[in-house]
Amino acid sequence: MSAEITLLSGSMETIEVSRKEALRYLGVRGEPAPELSALLDRARETLNGSAAPRAVCRRLPLKTAGDRLDFGVFRLQSRALAKNMAGCGESFLFAATLGFGPERLLLRLQKSEPSFALVFDAWCSAAVEGWCNEVNARLAQNETLRPRFSPGYGDVPLSLQRDVLAALDAQRKLGITLSDTFFMTPCKSVTAFVGISGS
């Protein structure tokens, strides 16, 4: 529907996933024991065989007045985001996901193999961050960008997800839906603002 939305796709083979980050999610400090390391390797292989990294991105005009932000498609009030966006006249808005493959596997593994499910879940979390980093890098090719900022951080309410996903037509394009309590499905999905410096 909405016109200026760009669809991006990636490959797990090239997306950089931080092992360190996955270990941090697992609460592991120091070098992981061999059995744990093996589980991480298996998580990587399992994800690479099941993920379909996709993202939608839209460039939005931005008008700010104090802590009020107007992105054209929606408005909000947030001190934290206004600070992040200070000086930007435009912002990217994107939604990124690993797709339904890992989502279904997570459901299954939690019933069949809880310990691996935990490791796989952490690996997926690190992977969607990695995918966001790649989306960010692609957007940064011609622009200088601010650090990305997601709904739910600081004083930006999670309820903003409704407007964000609608502005990106993310349900139709990526299949991301929202529960009444603002959970995204697939759960390994991220939405974010990325301010364009000097715009």
Binding site: M1, S2, A3, E4, I5, T6, L7, L26, G27, V28, R29, P32, A33, E35, L36, L39, A52, G72, V73, F74, G99, F100, G101, E103, R104, L106, L107, R108, Q110, K111, S112, E113, P114, S115, A117, L118, V119, D121, L158, A166, A167, Q171, R172, L174, G175, T177, S179, D180, T181, F182, F183, T185, P186, C187
Partner: protein, 801 residues
């Protein structure tokens, strides 16, 4: 002529995009396009008229999102949408008899359970409300489109079928890989929708005509119904700050010409297409000869991801989820432990089953509630088609409703009562029927007698509108120990039924060996004989090594296994000398101290080894001493290391799983009451769809010997209360992941405390703190899973009687 007739005899054109045209007329971002039916009636009228003049036969209403979740003046909007079309049709100078007005329904914007949080019946209800309004307006058909989830598609079709008599056409939205977003492929969609009795089906949106060619070809290849293809005008691209689609009207029409040649009956457009695209498509394809849809004769069932054909290579139907003669499964069903059924399902899939039988009929249980619940639970984790197995029509109907796919229905027989109740259900919901050759006088003694009953069922089904391709006959096999000719007659019946009726056959293979020694050998031989007689599917235990060997060998020898690849890989992973060496008496531990073998396996998280070692040790040791001297100490050792930070949550869980496996083996040798230390009810609160934390707590509690009743995720307060009341559970654990669901937790605690003051409620989850737990009146709080075990230990120690 109805649209259903028209689609079968001549090429039918659908209209094109609506959104882009409305945007051109000034529709603002964020504005609901449906409201324009009321505010800009003449704009809509002109667009509809332009499509009629371009040559479209099917004109779709501007009601993509017209449902009560998005609009509160549904009635007015849908009526206005119809009026706008009717005015255009009245003004249309061409043959208005050849214009059909379609009520358009798009997705709800909600993801259905189990992936999402929206209940299936609620979706049916929301669609139904829109359908009822539309039916009163005078539309000619319902067009369900841009559906990217097969389950939601089924909900919409059921709503349409149950609330009006209009023909229903369905087009789904695929990604480049040829799958719907939630995983279904084209053969699965075709199987499900043809089963539900739609008038035509196909694909729209997401892709341009070029990328849609392959999907169109797949549809034509497996559908018996007319196929409709409505692509986008290519992919959207930004040029000079404006979005354009990369395929122009001429390029679009050229692609659509190719698509028409392959046998697609309905052609139209979606996003980015305009009346010009349709006009050029009509011009480019008008002269082509019409290719009518071709009837397909494959017998096909489907899950929510893929279809399985019962023709060609014989299929294996896993029989393990059936309580008859299975004590553990019976106990699990009585304890409502659906997790046990899920594990059975996964084990059968891994062993090579392609379809799973599901039977939960057990005296004293409410099968009409339990069967649909089990189907949903299995479908949350296993993507195999299911065979719904029940003798109760109420249970069958409820399971058929919620089943996501096209199931096998087990079963109908030749008795009047069965024919009268089961055939209409199969007709309504779709499915492949298993027809048992049982008549009013029982099972005929001869192959001819059984074939006659099969013919009766096939004829009666045909009269009911069910094609014989949707029937598989089970000629039944009695125990050869009771009748020397039992197997021979059955084999003869398989051949006779296949040859004279042209239908597939299936058979519960294991009955034959009843009351005989070394049953697996008999079963394996009989399986090979039945397959050689032409059996299409065997209902059997795929975990039986002997039977799987027979099956793999048969497939290879029959030429179903190119280059013997499947056989070789099976043989390599299933060596005949698979004797597991007994565990060594002691194993070295990390810190240099020797640990007893079971303790070692549990501490290292070696699940299979733990179960095997426990089994070996049970020959010489007391079960209780194994629990107290090895399993529990191992868990304590691991728990201690976890607390010290020298070992982490995944390892703790691995040990817990190994302990649970060992415990399972050991507790089978214990008198029932000694097996469990106490029962705990767990739930993730309403609104929370992430329950990995709760699942970790569950595994740990189980490994420490507690029985856990897991209510799952997104559980309403009332449901927790009811479960606690029904089971008399004294300890309830609740989890919540995010701040948005803390209120639901507070409400649940409040309700429990009010109605059941004696119940101890412990809470946990990422955002919870001791302070918040105190604030909402919880009795206990734990920051991690080990803490939950400690709370449970303390609770049951204090409350022991």
């Amino acid at each position: 002529m109805t649209i259903t007739e028209r689609l079968r005899i001549c090429r039918t054109y659908f209209d094109g995009g609506m959104g882009t045209l409305l945007q051109k007329e000034g529709l603002r971002a964020g504005e609901l396009p449906e409201t324009w039916n009321l505010t800009h009636p003449s704009v809509l009228e002109e667009i509809h008229l332009a499509y009629m003049e371009a040559g479209a036969n099917v004109i779709t209403s501007n009601t993509f999102g017209a449902n009560r979740l998005k609009l509160n003046n549904l009635d007015l909007v849908i009526r206005a949408a119809y009026d706008n079309m009717a005015r255009a049709k009245a003004r249309f100078g061409g043959n208005s008899d050849d214009v059909y007005l379609a009520f358009d329904m798009g997705p709800l914007g909600k993801l259905l359970r189990p992936l999402g949080d929206f209940p299936f019946e609620d979706a049916v209800d929301v669609f139904a409300e829109s359908v009822r309004v539309a039916a009163a307006c005078g539309f000619d058909l319902i067009l369900i489109e841009t559906m990217s989830d097969l389950y939601e598609t089924k909900a919409a079709v059921l709503a349409a079928k149950e609330n009006c008599d209009l023909p229903v056409i369905v087009t789904n939205a695929y990604d480049e890989s040829g799958h719907l977003l939630t995983g279904a492929d084209v053969p699965a969609a075709v199987a499900v929708l043809e089963g539900l009795g739609v008038a035509a089906l196909g694909a729209n949106c997401s892709l341009g005509p070029q990328q849609m060619k392959d999907i169109a070809a797949q549809y034509v290849q497996c559908a018996s119904l007319p196929v409709v293809i409505n692509p986008n005008a290519g992919l959207p691209q930004v040029k000079d700050g404006k979005t354009v689609f990369d395929v122009d009207a001429d390029g679009f029409a050229a692609c659509m010409r190719d698509i028409a040649k392959t046998g697609v009956c309905g052609l139209g457009g979606c996003c980015g297409t305009t009346p010009d695209y349709i006009r050029k498509t009509v011009a480019a394809t008008r002269g082509l000869p019409f290719v009518p849809p071709e009837e397909k004769h494959d017998t096909v069932v489907a899950s929510y991801t893929h279809a399985v054909s019962l023709c060609g290579v014989p299929k294996l139907i896993g029989e393990r989820i059936n309580p008859t003669g299975k004590k553990k499964l019976q106990a699990a069903l009585r304890a409502h432990d659906l997790g046990y059924l899920v594990r059975e399902a996964i084990a059968q899939q891994e062993a090579g089953a392609q379809i799973l039988d599901v039977n939960v009929g057990l005296g004293g249980l409410d099968e009409a509630a339990l069967l649909p619940e089990t189907v949903e639970e299995l479908q949350s984790v296993v993507d195999l088609p299911l065979q719904i197995d029940t003798v109760r029509p109420a249970a069958l109907e409820r399971a058929l409703r919620v089943y996501n796919g096209k199931p096998l229905i087990n079963s109908v027989n030749a008795k009047e009562e069965s024919l009268a109740t089961v055939l209409p259900l199969a007709r309504k919901y779709g499915g492949v029927l298993i027809a048992l050759t049982i008549g009013e006088d029982g099972i005929p003694a001869t192959a001819e007698g059984r074939c006659a009953l099969a013919k009766k069922i096939v004829d009666r089904a045909a009269a009911c509108g069910i094609d014989k391709k949707d029937i598989v006959v089970d000629p039944l096999c009695m125990a050869v120990s009771a009748d020397d000719n039992a197997a021979r007659v059955t084999l003869e019946a398989i051949r006779l039924i296949r040859e004279t009726l042209g239908v597939g056959t299936c058979l519960g293979v294991s009955n034959v060996s009843f009351a005989l020694p070394e049953r697996q050998d008999i079963n394996a031989a009989f399986l090979a004989m039945a397959l050689q007689s032409g059996l299409s599917c065997a209902i059997m235990n795929p975990c039986s090594d002997e039977m799987m060997r027979a099956y793999r060998c048969f497939c290879m020898l029959q030429g179903f296994d190119p280059h013997c690849e499947s056989y070789i890989s099976f043989a390599q992973t299933h060596p005949r000398t698979a004797a597991v060496s007994a565990a060594a008496p002691t194993q070295p531990a990390d810190d240099g101290n020797a640990l007893p073998p079971l303790m070692y396996a549990v501490a290292k998280g070696l699940q299979k080894q733990a179960a095997q070692t426990a089994k070996t040790l049970l020959q010489t040791e007391e079960p209780l001493s194994l629990i107290n001297e090895q399993i529990v100490p191992a868990l304590n050792l691991v728990g201690e290391r976890f607390r010290q930070g020298s070992l982490f949550l995944p390892q703790l869980l691995m040990s817990a799983e190994a302990a649970a496996a060992a415990f399972d083996t050991v507790s089978a040798k214990l008198p029932q009451a000694d097996g469990k230390k106490g029962t705990i009810l767990l739930a993730t609160v309403q609104g929370d769809v992430h329950d990995i934390g709760k699942n970790i707590v569950k595994v740990l509690l189980q490994s420490y010997g507690y029985a856990v009743l897991d209510l799952g995720k997104d559980v309403p307060p009332q449901r927790v209360l009811e479960a606690a009341k029904e089971t008399g559970t004294k300890l309830v654990g609740l989890s919540a992941l995010m701040t948005t669901t803390l209120d639901a937790m507070a409400e649940t605690v409040k309700l429990l405390k009010k109605e059941l003051p004696g119940v101890f409620v412990m809470v946990g989850g990422a955002v919870l703190t001791q302070e918040y737990a105190d604030l909402i009146g919880a009795d206990g709080y734990s920051k991690d899973a080990m803490g939950a075990v400690a709370l449970a230990d303390r609770f049951f120690a204090c409350n022991e009687t």
